[in-house]
C-alpha cells in the first residue's frame, strides 16, 4: 500500500472516529484516581444520580434529607473517576496486505478507535506487530500523523511478542486488529496480551474472498508470507471444506476469548469500507455515539 492511500485511510478513520467515543469496561480503575470521569458509578465528588438503597451500599452516601422527605432510603451516586488508556495492536504481517481493502480496513479501525478514545478523553498508543513489537511514529498522536506502518513482515504477532514484549500501559484496554490466520492456540496468544490488561478486544478482519472463496477450477495458491505454493482443483466440495475449517478456527478464537473475558468481533473489510457500518462495535459496547 502506498503512503498516500495509507494516509487517506488514516484520515478516513479519523473522520469516522470523531462521531464515536470509546466506552470503558467496568474494571478500568485507576489506583490513585483518574483524570477522567467514567460513566460508571464511582467515588468522585461529581454527582451522578439517585437510587434506592441496596444492601451493601455505603451508608455514608445515604441522602438523609431525602429519607426525611420520602421515608425511603435514597442513596446518592457519583461519577467514577478513571485514567483510561487504549493500546491498539496492529498485525503488520504480509497477510494483512493481501488486498488494499484489508489493510485499509485495519488502518481505519485503528484510527477510529484512537479517535474515539481521544473523544473519551483517553490516551492511546498504536503498536505495530511486525518483526518485533514497536510503536508507530506519533503513536499517541492523531492517527493522520501516524508514520511507519508497513505490512511487509512474515511473522504473526505472537512471534513479534516473543522477540520483544511491548511495554503496554498497566490496566489498559488492548485491541488486537488481525486476520488471525496462523495456527497457534488462541488462548495462549490472548494470554500474552491479557497480562495486566483491563480488557481485550480482538477485531478479526477478513476479506469476503477469504471468508468464502469464489474461484473454482485449477488454482495455484501462493502463501503471502511463506511463499509456499500448492496446486489444487477447487470445486464446491473443496470450498465447503475450506469454509468449515475457517469456521472451526474462528470458533476456537471465540471460545478462547470467552474464557479470558475478551471480546472478539469478526469484520468484513469490504462491508466496513462500503457501508462504514460500525454496528458490531456499538452493539458490543466498544464504541458509543457521541
Amino acid at each position: 500500500m502506498d503512503k498516500e492511500l495509507q494516509k487517506k485511510y488514516l484520515q478516513k478513520g479519523e473522520k469516522i472516529g470523531t462521531a464515536y467515543k470509546l466506552l470503558f469496561p467496568d474494571n478500568l480503575v485507576s489506583g490513585r484516581g483518574g483524570d477522567k470521569m467514567s460513566n460508571q458509578t464511582g467515588s468522585s465528588l461529581e454527582f451522578k444520580d439517585f437510587r434506592h438503597y441496596q444492601p451493601g451500599d455505603d451508608l455514608r452516601n445515604i441522602d438523609w434529607n431525602a429519607y426525611a422527605r420520602s421515608d425511603n432510603l435514597i442513596v446518592k451516586t457519583f461519577h467514577k473517576e478513571v485514567n483510561p488508556h487504549i493500546d491498539i495492536i496492529l498485525d503488520c504481517s504480509k497477510s494483512m496486505a493481501i488486498k488494499d481493502e484489508k489493510s485499509g480496513t485495519a488502518i481505519i479501525l485503528a484510527a477510529i478507535l484512537s479517535t474515539a478514545a481521544a473523544n473519551s478523553k483517553s490516551s492511546h498508543k498504536l503498536w505495530l506487530a511486525a518483526d518485533t513489537f514497536k510503536e508507530t511514529g506519533n503513536s499517541s498522536g492523531r492517527p493522520s500523523n501516524w508514520e511507519g506502518i508497513n505490512f511487509n513482515h512474515n511473522c504473526p504477532p505472537t512471534e513479534a511478542y516473543k522477540k520483544m514484549a511491548p511495554n503496554f500501559v498497566h490496566n489498559s484496554i488492548r485491541v488486537l486488529i488481525s486476520d488471525l490466520l496462523w495456527l497457534e492456540d488462541p488462548e495462549t496468544v490472548l494470554s500474552y496480551f491479557n497480562h495486566q490488561a483491563a480488557s481485550i478486544i480482538v477485531l478479526e478482519v477478513l476479506t469476503n474472498s477469504e471468508e468464502s472463496p469464489e474461484f473454482r477450477g485449477n488454482v495455484k495458491f501462493e502463501d503471502s508470507e511463506s511463499g509456499e505454493i500448492i496446486e489444487l482443483y477447487l470445486d464446491e466440495t473443496a470450498a465447503a471444506d475450506y469454509i468449515a475449517k475457517l469456521s472451526a478456527h474462528r470458533d476456537n478464537w471465540y471460545r478462547a476469548s470467552q474464557r479470558i473475558g475478551a471480546t472478539m468481533i469478526s469484520l468484513s473489510s469490504e462491508e466496513l469500507l462500503e457501508s462504514k457500518n460500525l454496528d458490531k462495535l456499538l452493539k458490543n459496547q466498544i464504541l458509543g455515539v457521541l
Partner: protein, 589 residues
C-alpha cells in the same frame, strides 16, 4: 489396403486441436496469492502415512478423450479394410508346358504376360489367390505362408513340361475350392472344353508364331559304331531356315544349314565310332528355344545269353526262329533264360525259365483274350484276331494272358527268379505268324535286361520315367539333375523310377559307379505354336462386385472400442471425484 466411404468425416479431426486447447486451458493453474494456505493444505494431506508421493502426472483422461475422438472420426469415415477372410478365393491354374515360354514379337513370353495379368487381377478384384501348376500332372502350390509371393511363383512356374493337363487341373481345383471360389486358367491356347458358366475365365496369352524344333532323336550302338538320327520339323505355314550344329564336348563335329518348306520334317543322321560321351545337336534360336537342343547318350543293347532245351522238334524250330528274329540273344552254357518244354527244369538264381506246354487235348482259342496289361511281358501285344491253341491245364503263378477261364500264360516268381509258363500248340495257333510272337519274346528279353544293373533306356522323351536297377543293398544314391541340383535319394527295392520332367542329362551316382540318362523335349504338340493365341473365354459371376465383397467395415469395431473407452473414462472420473468427499467425511468424524 483401406478405403474410406465417407472421407469428409475426417473433418472431425478438427476436434482434436480444440480438445487439446480446452484441456490445456482448463488445466492451466491460475495463480492466486492468499493470506495463508493453512486451510488449503489440509485438502492435500494424505489419509494415511507420512509424505505424499507425487507421481508423474499422466493425462490419461485427456488421452482417452483424444482416442475416443479419433475413433469416432474413424468410425464416421466408414473405413473399409481388406480382410483375407473376406477376400474371394481364386484358383489360378497355370499352364506349365514349355510352349508358355515361347516369345512373341516384343520378346515377351506367355508366362511373363501371365504374371503381369495375375498381379493385375489380384489387385483389381482383391482376390485371395491359390495356384495350381498344370504340367504332366496337376500340382497345387501351397502359398498360405507367403501370400502372394510372385518371386517364389516365378521360380516354381518353370514351363518345362511337354504337356499341360489343364482340364484335369481345373477338375482338381474345383474339388479343392469352395463354392465361392473363382477360377482362372492362364495358358496360350484356346479351351477345348465347355467352360462352366459364371465361374471360369480362360485367359490365353500365347502368340501364333513359327518354330522349328526337334521331334525325334535316337542313338544306337551297333557293331562298335554309334548312329544318331534326328528329326526336325518346321511348325509353320511358311518356309523356314535353321543351322544344325552337332557338338561333342564343346567341339563342333558338324554344322549345316537346312531350309524347310512349310510344315516339312527333315531327318538327318550322324555316325561315328562308339564313344561313351553325350552328343549334342543344336539349331538356331527362334521363338521357342526350349526345343532347340537335343542330347543323346550311347545306347548299347545288351544281348541276353539263352539256352534252348525243347525236345519237340517242330516247337524247337519255331522258338529258335522267333528268338533269332529278336537279334538280342546268343546261345550260352551260362544262360540267363532257358527255353524248355520240360517241366523238370525250374527257375533258379542263375536263370529264368520259359516253359512251353504243349497240350494233348488242345483247343483253338480265338478270344476274347484278357492280358495283364501292367506286366512287362504284355507291352505292345495286341491279340485281336489271333488264334491261340492251348489245353485246359491249370497254370501256377500270376496269369499273364487268359481267355475265358483258361490261363494261357502265367508267371511264377521263385527266389527272385521267374518261371514263365506258356501254353502253346502251334498246330492250333496262328500267333506265331503275327507280330505279337516276336514282341512277346522280345519283351521277355527286355524284361530280363531290365533286371540288369543300370539304366535300360538312356535316351528318353520328356515326361518319361527313368528306370534304374541298382546293385543289391543299395540304400542311397546321389542324383544330379539337368539344372545342377544334387539330391540324395533313398532306395528300398534296389530299383528306382524317377520322372524326367526337365530335359537334360540326369546322373545317378553310387560311390564310384554312375549311370546317366538323356531327356529330350520331342513333343510336336508343344513345339507347334501355330495353335497359340491370345484371348479370353468365360465370365465370372458378379464381376463388378467382387472387389467390394472383399472389404469389411471397421466401424463396428471402432464403436465397440469407443464404448469400452467411455466406460473406462467414466470409471476414472467417478473414482477421482469420490476422493475429496471421503476425506472430508473422515475429518468431520
Amino acid at each position: 489396403m483401406f478405403q474410406l466411404v465417407n472421407p469428409w468425416a475426417l473433418l472431425g479431426l478438427i476436434s482434436l486441436p480444440i480438445l487439446t486447447a480446452l484441456y490445456f486451458l482448463r488445466n492451466r493453474h491460475r495463480k492466486i496469492k492468499v493470506s495463508s494456505i493453512i486451510f488449503w493444505q489440509t485438502l492435500q494431506k494424505p489419509k494415511q502415512g507420512g509424505r505424499s508421493i507425487k507421481n508423474p502426472r499422466f493425462p490419461l483422461l485427456f488421452l482417452l478423450e483424444l482416442l475416443i475422438l479419433i475413433l469416432l472420426t474413424a468410425a464416421g469415415t466408414r473405413i473399409l479394410y481388406l480382410s483375407r477372410s473376406q477376400r474371394k478365393p481364386i484358383m489360378i491354374i497355370l499352364d506349365n508346358s514349355y510352349s508358355m515360354s515361347a516369345k512373341d514379337l516384343k520378346g515377351k513370353s506367355a508366362k511373363e504376360k501371365g504374371i503381369i495379368y495375375i498381379k493385375k487381377i489380384i489387385k483389381d478384384y482383391n482376390f485371395d489367390p491359390y495356384f495350381m501348376l498344370a504340367g504332366d500332372s496337376p500340382n497345387f502350390i501351397d502359398n498360405s505362408d507367403n501370400f502372394p509371393n510372385f518371386k517364389e511363383l516365378n521360380k516354381l512356374w518353370q514351363c518345362k513340361s511337354k504337356y499341360s493337363c489343364l482340364k484335369r487341373a481345373l477338375t482338381e481345383a474345383k474339388k479343392i475350392a469352395n463354392e465361392n471360389s473363382y477360377f482362372l486358367v492362364i495358358t496360350d491356347k484356346a479351351p477345348k472344353m465347355n467352360l462352366k458358366k459364371n465361374k471360369v475365365i480362360w485367359k490365353a496369352l500365347g502368340y501364333k508364331n513359327s518354330n522349328i524344333g526337334f521331334i525325334n532323336a535316337v542313338r544306337k550302338t551297333i557293331d562298335n559304331k554309334d548312329q544318331c538320327l534326328w528329326e526336325l520339323k518346321n511348325f509353320s505355314d511358311i518356309p523356314g531356315q535353321t543351322t544344325v550344329s552337332i557338338e561333342c564336348v564343346e567341339k563342333i563335329l558338324k554344322e549345316k544349314k537346312y531350309n524347310f518348306k512349310p510344315n516339312e520334317t527333315i531327318k538327318f543322321r550322324y555316325s561315328f565310332p562308339e564313344i561313351e560321351i553325350p552328343i549334342y545337336c543344336k539349331i538356331s534360336d527362334d521363338s521357342l528355344n526350349y526345343d532347340n537342343e537335343s542330347r543323346l547318350l550311347t545306347h548299347k543293347i545288351k544281348k541276353v545269353p539263352i539256352k534252348i532245351s525243347i525236345s519237340n522238334k517242330k516247337l524247337n524250330k519255331i522258338i529258335y526262329s522267333v528268338l533269332k528274329s529278336t537279334n538280342i540273344i546268343f546261345h550260352s552254357e551260362k544262360p540267363k533264360i532257358v527255353f524248355t518244354d520240360s517241366p523238370e527244369i525250374k527257375a533258379n538264381e542263375d536263370f529264368w525259365v520259359v516253359q512251353i506246354i504243349q497240350s494233348k487235348n488242345p483247343r483253338a482259342f480265338s478270344g476274347p483274350f484278357i492280358k495283364n496289361s501292367v506286366h512287362p511281358i504284355n507291352e505292345g501285344i495286341d491279340l485281336r484276331g489271333t488264334i491261340w491253341g492251348a489245353g485246359k491245364e491249370v497254370l501256377k503263378g500270376i496269369p499273364l494272358v487268359t481267355v475265358g477261364n483258361t490261363t494261357l500264360a502265367a508267371d511264377k516268381e521263385i527266389n527272385n527268379s521267374h518261371h514263365i509258363t506258356i501254353k502253346y500248340n502251334p498246330e492250333y495257333s496262328n500267333i506265331q505268324k503275327s507280330f505279337n510272337f516276336p514282341i512277346l519274346f522280345w519283351n521277355i528279353f527286355n524284361w530280363r535286361n531290365n533286371e540288369n544293373i543300370g539304366i535300360l533306356n538312356r535316351n528318353l522323351r520328356l515326361g518319361s520315367n527313368i528306370y534304374l536297377k541298382l546293385p543289391k543293398r543299395t540304400t542311397e544314391i546321389k542324383l544330379t539333375t539337368p539344372d545342377g541340383t544334387i539330391k540324395k535319394i533313398s532306395i528300398n527295392t534296389n530299383s528306382l523310377i524317377y520322372p524326367a520332367n526337365t530335359q537334360g542329362i540326369y546322373s545317378f551316382t553310387k560311390k564310384e559307379q554312375s549311370w546317366s540318362a538323356a531327356v529330350n523335349v520331342l513333343s510336336e504338340n508343344e513345339s507347334d505354336l501355330s495353335n497359340s493365341l491370345s484371348g479370353e473365354w468365360g465370365k465370372w459371376i458378379n464381376e463388378n462386385n467382387i472387389s467390394e465383397q472383399s472389404f469389411k467395415s471397421a466401424s463396428g469395431k471402432f464403436i465397440m472400442i469407443i464404448i469400452l473407452l467411455l466406460l473406462i473414462h467414466q470409471f476414472l472420473i467417478s473414482k477421482s471425484s469420490l476422493h475429496i468427499p471421503k476425506q472430508h467425511a473422515n475429518e468431520k468424524k
